[in-house]
Symmetry: C2
Subunit: 303 residues, 2 copies
Amino acid sequence: MQPLPQRVRVGWVGTGVMGAAMCGHVQAGGHAVTVFNRTRAKAQPLLDAGARWADSAGEVARDADVVFTMVGFPKDVREVYLDPGGILSVARPGCILVDMTTTAPTLAREIHEAAQAKGMHALDAPVSGGDVGAREARLSIMVGGERETFESLLPLLGLMGKSIVYQGPAGAGQHTKMCNQIVIAGTMIGVCESLLYAYRFGLDVEAVLQSISGGAAGCWSLTNLAPRIHKRNFDPGFFVEHFVKDMRIALDEAARMSLALPGLALVHQLYTALQAQGHGKSGTHALILALEKLSPNPDDVPY
Amino acid sequence: MQPLPQRVRVGWVGTGVMGAAMCGHVQAGGHAVTVFNRTRAKAQPLLDAGARWADSAGEVARDADVVFTMVGFPKDVREVYLDPGGILSVARPGCILVDMTTTAPTLAREIHEAAQAKGMHALDAPVSGGDVGAREARLSIMVGGERETFESLLPLLGLMGKSIVYQGPAGAGQHTKMCNQIVIAGTMIGVCESLLYAYRFGLDVEAVLQSISGGAAGCWSLTNLAPRIHKRNFDPGFFVEHFVKDMRIALDEAARMSLALPGLALVHQLYTALQAQGHGKSGTHALILALEKLSPNPDDVPY
């Protein structure tokens, strides 16, 4: 496998909350970036900074050494890679394809095999760290695929993350991301139920957070999301609808292994309710809204 | 309220996993310590280091300026404070009584009132941080009671913890601890289900932990307990039976506020099963054992 040139021709598909920040770091690293996004306006800051626009996901791949994708759902991943005119039908042999979307491990393996058949190299490289991590280039990136491909890509991945770990063959990155999401499902229900308890009893929530963030309850969600909940700011760091999708994938994979995950199943149901209540585009910490609805405040006092 | 002398006469009841470490820090701070514990052997290291032995909880309080209690269950707290010959019948007016056990907020208020009636000052000051936090004097201490009493006690509490926060009137420390335990219930189910998924799929668990501990799934339980689970070491940092008790208290308090906490209720049930399976004296991270039992590994391969 050839080493990447110093100035890599990068194609980037998907410039949403996460993708735009990540692509920006790659661009700032001096690489030549071509972008495509369904909603062009969201790519504008990258275009203003010198990126080229392409009219489709496939066109992004035309002259690229490396293509990154960061889209929404497995069906979007399938479309941008496997549809006629998609990345796999346009990219050149030797091109490295890196899907950073959280998607099904089976789909990651499917893309990996299709890429291999065309002399391309595919990695699944989902991330964790949320919008904050993306902005600060402090993401955790968990990578599946060939180790050699992974190693050649380290300089580029290093522009976006601080913890970049090879997890095994194709799909292993996605499975690791599932492990990540399973933990988050737990931390999120814990944080939201805890805050709800504090509000209902009338505790001083800032003092409570000061006490519990530093002990055995300490977690990323408590540090980063509880303050947003306290300000009733439910803007998305990470979309509810994406998290529902991730949990569905994890539950499907677990079921395939005859593995019951009762905690994850409960949290998935509560998020499904939250989405049904119209909060699919809210941030995951909006879970507290579904819990509030479950037990309406008897005094009907908004806090 | 009189300031405490520089060398405080401290009475200490309860020298289990947590209590022994905490009392050791107070003793190392140069204070005169008298201890009582149901099982005397557990107090031996403190006695060897110069502590005096008393034959009952009440006797610990006889000449004390401050009495700390760190026992097991609400019924133990009730017994050491309120029974005939207990702390409240022996301690002198002006004495400060500090219950660091996690117990019911209602019991904390009852003790506070009984103490007030005798001219004593009671604080509820439960802690978080587990055995590691206790050993390293890095506990989070959440305090309820009169603010003046809290402030006079800061030098002593500072020997045991790094985050010491006044939470409000009597019982507020315990309520804050409930908020803490509710988060932990979530982090624990998340961590255990995540590891189980990783093991069943055959991921490299150490690589997984490296990836997910640094991102949005990061939490104390993942950093401190997942490695113990990986070594199949279920020695108690914090006892399952104590955690079951804490969650019961939180669920009772929530029910009193007409508040449903479905996540906490599920985790409480799984821990109740774990205790029924004979793991009451294991550490809380043994939750994975109950989850394993729920979906037996089809290959029956111990990992």
